[in-house]
Amino acid sequence: MKAVRLTTPLTQEALRQLKAGDTVLISGTIYTGRDAAHKRLVETLDRGEDLPFNVKDAVIYFVGPCPAKPGQVIGSAGPTSSYRMDTYSPRLIEQGLTGMIGKGLRGPAVVDAMKKHGCVYFVAIGGAGALMARSIKEAKVIAYDDLGTEAVRELVVEDFPVIVCIDAEGNNLYEQGRAQYQRN
């Protein structure tokens, strides 16, 4: 399987080339956020204020990393379960978010928003946080410092390994992959 290389920002043109099942190596800047940060991002939009980063053509990684050991950029940093962000994701996709990295199932409202506005759902390997941290070259907190591990971080990544799980047409690798190996 040859990996597709992509560099952020992730434009509409670039994301239309990605198909469910593609293995991808992401380089460039991505942003982190999980439960508590997503709640604040959406509350910020509700108040009509600007988000702490430019969400247009941005990729967000659902992660709450471990603290960095001395000499490390970041601690273990694998994906967290994405379904918990389903309440908030459509709002960010409407604002121009083009990529989400996480693991696990997504709800129909998220997939509808992805198809309507153009967004791709990537999965990373859950529980392989030590391996994934190796692709993270820089990390800094840019918002909600008080949330600790849940703060929004700007990460610079190099060849960060992910798989396209749901593409902008709604093709879903969880469904396709399972159908291929199910018995009975």
């Binding site: 601690g75 693991k103 999965v123 992959g177």
Partner: protein, 279 residues
């Protein structure tokens, strides 16, 4: 009476928290190697390979296997002839506090489930005590991540529902969880007792070494049947398709009431951590 000090306990728990989060057990490693060899899906095989590589990095560099270093679940078996100098629960929590700080482990515990402010030190732990004869103190630390914990299920069946209903329930719990608990998973099932006992048994079942089946013949047969059916679901590594959905299914049972048949399912991801010490 044998005296064990607060410091001995805190120090032991500190070490266990770090070790459990950075070194996967030999039984899990072996199960992953077998799964890697047997996996039919090329993508699934690659994923299991990455998981094995990740475990090696964590062990060699003493970094957490997974960023979710869990809520510390601690199983304590205490001999009734042991005298603990200082509070035992306090000593365990002190060990968790130190271990999560010194090991650069993620602090994932919030003080109030509704107000949700992080306690900042991963305490309190969830502690289960068992009092037995003798003068030994046995402590097992099992950090539990919530990607898999959130996929737990409990159901109070009628005795007439029988084993077929239990099989259906366990398989549906795994099917519903799908990719969320980071397959390949370990499935813990608790049958019997009361509502909370069944849940405790399901958790305890996760701690049994992979490859050790129940000593009860009918339960061992149930474990094997459930494992085969779960792996036939096709969910596969990380839910992307394949024939390795679970590494093992462990079932624990307990006597129950004439009117009831409680059953709980607790799922663990492939980072099935537990480390123990006897003082």
């Amino acid at each position: 009476m044998r005296t064990i000090t607060f410091e001995q306990i805190a120090s032991a728990v500190e070490g266990l928290c770090i070790k459990a989060n950075t070194q996967i057990g030999a039984d899990v490693k072996e199960a992953l190697e077998k799964a890697h060899a047997a996996e039919a899906s090329p993508l699934g095989k690659t994923i299991i390979g990455h998981i094995m590589e990740n475990n090696a990095i964590a062990e060699n560099e003493l970094v957490p296997i997974c960023q979710d270093t869990g809520m510390a679940v601690v199983f304590v078996t205490i001999g009734q002839e042991v005298f603990v100098e200082g509070g035992l629960t306090d000593a365990i929590n002190e060990g968790v506090r130190r271990g999560y700080e010194k090991g650069y482990l993620r602090k994932s515990v919030v003080k109030d489930p509704l107000i949700r402010v992080n306690t900042g030190d991963n305490t309190p732990a969830v502690i289960h005590y068992d009092i037995v004869p003798g003068d030994k103190l046995h402590i097992m630390v099992a950090p539990k991540g919530f990607g898999s914990e959130n996929m737990s299920q409990l159901k109070m069946f009628k005795p007439a529902d029988g084993v077929e209903a239990i099989k259906k329930f366990v398989i549906e719990a795994v099917e519903k969880a799908g990719p969320n608990p980071c397959p390949p998973i370990v499935v813990g099932v608790g049958i019997g007792g009361t509502m909370e006992k069944a849940s405790f048994l399901a958790k305890k079942a996760l701690l049994r070494h992979i490859g050790h089946h129940s000593e009860k013949e009918h339960i061992a047969a149930l474990e094997k049947e459930l494992l085969e059916k779960i792996n036939n679901l096709g969910i596969g590594p990380q839910g992307l398709g394949g024939n390795t959905t679970a590494l093992t299914v462990n079932v624990e049972t307990y006597p129950t009431h004439i009117a009831g048949l409680p059953c709980a399912v607790n799922i663990n991801c492939h980072v099935a951590r537990h480390t123990e010490i006897e003082l």
